[in-house]
Symmetry: C2
Subunit: 407 residues, 2 copies
C-alpha cells in the first residue's frame, strides 16, 4: 500500500496567489467591463529587450540546422553563461570558479530544492514575512511540526517589522539553515553591509549555512548596499546565493536562474567542496539543465548592450515604484520599500487586516494587491504592491485610489 | 550546526555518464585526430523540424512586443498545450481532463521529483537494469538502506534478462511504488498489453502506484503494443504517467515534458484527487513552469505538420537502429531491442564485463557505447547503443566494428 507524504497536510491552504486570483475573478464576473489595475503578482509586464530577442532568435535558427543543432548541455549549465556570470561577479570584486556556479530554470526551483542537500535535523530560520517557498519546501521535506497560532513548530522565525526597518534580526534561538532575501520580497527592505555581516558572523560561529536569495539585487541603486552576500568577508565559507534573470530582464516566462555553491563552504560534518558536490549530484540526477534557448537569452542579457537595456527595464519599474510611493504617501499612508526594490509595503489604515484592506482596494479602487498576511504572521496589517506593471496602469491605479478609496 | 543529507553518500559514484565521458576524453587526448563514433549518450543529433522552428520564432517575436509579451504562465502549464495533449491521448481512446496534465521542463525532473508526494515508508520497486534516476532520487530521499553486493537494501528489484525478454516480472515481494519504463531504457524492450495488465492488476490489488515512464512510446511501431499505461483498464486508478518531447522531437536541449496524475488515482490513506492535488502543490510551490518559448515548440510538435515531421525524425533514428541491429547480428552478436525503441542492447562476447567491452569497442573500433552495468547489476555483460546519431556516423561505426574489432 502506497502512502502519501503527510507533511503536505501541514501546509496552509493552497498556494498564496490562488485566493487572490479567485477574489479578483469573482469581482470581475460581478462587474463586467470594469477596468482592474493589477499590482498583485510580481510578474513582469514589459517586453524582452532587442539584444535578448536577437540572441533568442539566433539560437532558434541554430537549432534548425544540423551543423549548429545542440541537445543536452553541460550538467552545470553552459560554460559561456557561467563564464559571463563569473565576470558579472568580478565587477563587484567577487571571484568565483566556474564549478561554483550552477545554471537552473529559475530561483523558485533552486530555492525549493536546495535544502535537499542538508540533513532533516537542520533547524530552519526564515524571515517573517517572506517569500513562502523557503518555508513551504521545508514543511514538505518534514523539517517542521504542525502549524499552530500562525507559526510552524520547529521553525525559527526572524521578525521583520517597522521597528527594525523590516530587516530581520539574528535568530533568537539556534538555527542551522538561514534563509535571507534581500531586497526582501514582500517588504522591499534591503539589508545593509553591517546587517549582513552580523548574519555571516553568526553563521561562521554556529556552523550554519545562509541561503541568500539575491533575485532583486539589480534593483539596488544605493551604492552602499550589498548586491551579493559574497561582498561580506567570510561569506564564501557559509553562504549559498540564488539568483535569477526573471525580474530584471523579463525572464519570468523564459525561465533562467543560477545558484552559487562555493567550494569553501563547509559544514561541521563534511569537508570543503562537499556541499558543492552534493548540489552537483542533486542537479545532475534530478534536473536536465535550463533550456538552451533561454540560456542564449541569458548570455544576451549579460552582454554590454543587453545589460544596458536591462538597466532601462529596471528604471521603468523603479519609476513606477516612485510614483506609487509618492501618491500613497501624499494620501497619508505609511509606505515602505520601493527605493531599492520593486515592491512597496503598504500599511493598512485603521488597523484593517490584510484581507480586509485587499477587499477594500479591490472593491472601491479596483486595484489588486497581495495581502501581506500571505507572507507570514508579521505581514498581517500590510499589503504588497508590485511595481511590475505598465506605467499607464500605475497612473490610473493611483488616480483611482485617490478618487475612490474611502479612507 | 548544519548537517548534510547523508543519503547522498549511499549513491554509487558520480552520475553514470561521467566515467564514460572521462574515458572517451582520455582516449581522444591519447589519439589526436582519431575519428570517434558516439553511440553512447541518448542525446538527439538531428535538428528541430521546420514547424517547430516556426513556432519558436513566432513566440520569441511575441516576447519582444508589449502587446504580446507574457510572463508567468498557468501553474500547471499552458492550457493550449494541455488541450493539445488531451487530444493526443484521445487518439488512443484515453480521456484526460486538463487538470490531470502537468507541463514540466522534462521527464528527468518529474521522474526525480514525483516520489516527493509519497510517504517515505512506501517501498520502491524498480526494473534492473533501468534508467538510474528512479533509483537515485529515492536513495536521496531516504527510501533505501546501504548499497551492498550491487543492490540497495529496501529496494525491490525486478530483474530484466534474456529469459524474460528484458520485461520485468511482477515484484517478488510487496512493493508500493513501481517504476516501469516502456520502451525500456536501456534494453529497448517493450511491455505488451498483457504484461502491463499484470502490473495494473497487481497495483489495484495491493494499492500500489505505478510510475510509468513513457518517454520512448513514439518509437513503438508495432500496433499491438501499448503507448500509454492508460490503455490498460483500471490504470487511471493506480498509475502516473511521465512523458517528454525530448527524444521524438529533438527537445533534449529545449526542455519540455508532461506528467499525468489522474483524479481517479487513489491510495489507501487518501481520497480521490488527493495525489493530483499533492503534485499540483509540489509543482506550484517548487517549480515555476516550463519556458514559454519551449511550450510554443511543444504546441508546434502536436500540430498536424509538426507531428508528421516528428514521425520522420523517429524514422531517421529507427533506420539507424535497423542498420546497427543487422550489422551486429551479421557479426554473430546477440542483439536485443531496437525494434520499437531507439536503444540497442548488445550482449558482450566471451563473457566480457560491460566496462571491458566498452574499452574494447572504444580502443579497437573507436565506438563509444554505454556500459550496461551502469543501469543496474543485471545490466552487467551488456552495453547500450544509442541510435540518436547521424546516419553517416552509424555507417562508419558499423564498418569500423566489422573491420577493427577483434572478436
Amino acid at each position: 500500500m502506497a502512502t502519501v507524504n503527510k507533511n503536505y497536510d501541514k501546509l496552509q491552504g493552497a498556494y498564496m496567489f490562488g485566493e487572490v486570483a479567485k477574489r479578483m475573478k469573482d469581482f470581475v464576473e460581478k462587474n463586467p467591463g470594469m477596468e482592474i489595475f493589477r499590482l498583485g503578482i510580481g510578474d513582469t509586464t514589459q517586453p524582452l529587450t532587442p539584444t535578448v530577442i536577437k540572441g533568442l532568435k539566433e539560437k532558434v535558427k541554430k537549432l534548425g540546422s544540423i551543423k549548429t543543432y545542440t541537445g543536452y548541455g553541460h550538467p552545470q549549465g553552459d560554460i559561456r553563461l557561467r563564464t559571463a556570470l563569473a565576470e558579472f561577479y568580478k565587477k563587484r570584486k567577487i571571484d568565483l570558479a566556474l564549478e561554483e556556479i550552477f545554471i537552473s530554470d529559475g530561483a523558485k526551483s533552486d530555492s525549493g530544492n536546495i535544502a535537499s542537500i542538508f540533513g532533516l535535523d537542520s533547524i530552519v530560520a526564515i524571515a517573517d514575512p517572506v517569500y513562502p517557498v523557503y518555508l513551504d519546501s521545508n514543511v514538505i521535506a518534514g523539517r517542521t511540526g504542525e502549524f499552530k497560532n500562525g507559526k510552524y513548530e520547529g521553525i525559527v522565525y526572524m521578525s521583520c517589522n517597522e521597528e527594525n526597518g523590516f530587516v530581520p534580526a539574528l535568530p533568537k534561538s539556534k538555527a542551522d539553515l538561514i534563509y535571507i532575501c534581500s531586497p526582501n520580497n514582500p517588504t522591499g527592505s534591503v539589508a545593509t553591509h553591517k546587517q549582513l555581516k552580523a548574519f555571516v558572523d553568526y553563521a561562521l560561529k554556529n556552523k550554519s549555512v545562509i541561503i541568500f536569495d539575491a533575485c532583486y539585487v539589480q534593483y539596488i541603486s544605493d551604492k552602499s548596499l550589498p548586491k551579493s552576500i559574497y561582498e561580506i568577508e567570510g561569506a564564501k565559507k557559509c553562504a549559498i546565493e540564488i539568483n535569477s534573470f526573471s525580474k530584471w530582464s523579463g525572464f519570468t516566462g523564459v525561465r533562467l536562474g543560477w545558484t552559487v555553491v562555493p567550494m569553501d563552504l563547509v559544514v561541521e560534518d563534511a569537508p570543503e567542496g562537499k556541499l558543492n558536490n552534493l548540489w552537483n549530484r542533486r542537479q545532475s540526477t534530478m534536473f536536465n539543465g535550463a533550456s538552451n534557448i533561454s540560456t542564449e537569452g541569458g548570455l544576451a542579457v549579460l552582454s554590454e548592450s543587453g545589460f544596458k537595456e536591462s538597466k532601462k527595464l529596471i528604471a521603468y519599474y523603479m519609476d513606477n515604484a516612485k510614483k506609487i510611493k509618492q501618491s500613497l504617501a501624499a494620501l497619508g499612508f505609511k509606505v515602505f520599500g520601493g527605493e531599492n526594490a520593486p515592491y512597496i509595503w503598504l500599511k493598512a489604515p485603521k488597523n484593517l487586516t490584510s484581507w480586509k484592506f485587499f477587499d477594500k482596494l479591490l472593491k472601491e479602487a479596483h486595484v489588486v494587491v497581495t495581502p501581506g498576511s500571505l507572507f507570514g504572521r508579521e505581514g498581517e496589517g500590510y499589503v504588497r504592491l508590485s511595481t511590475f506593471a505598465d506605467k499607464r496602469d500605475v497612473k490610473k491605479a493611483m488616480e483611482s485610489i485617490k478618487k475612490n478609496l474611502k479612507i
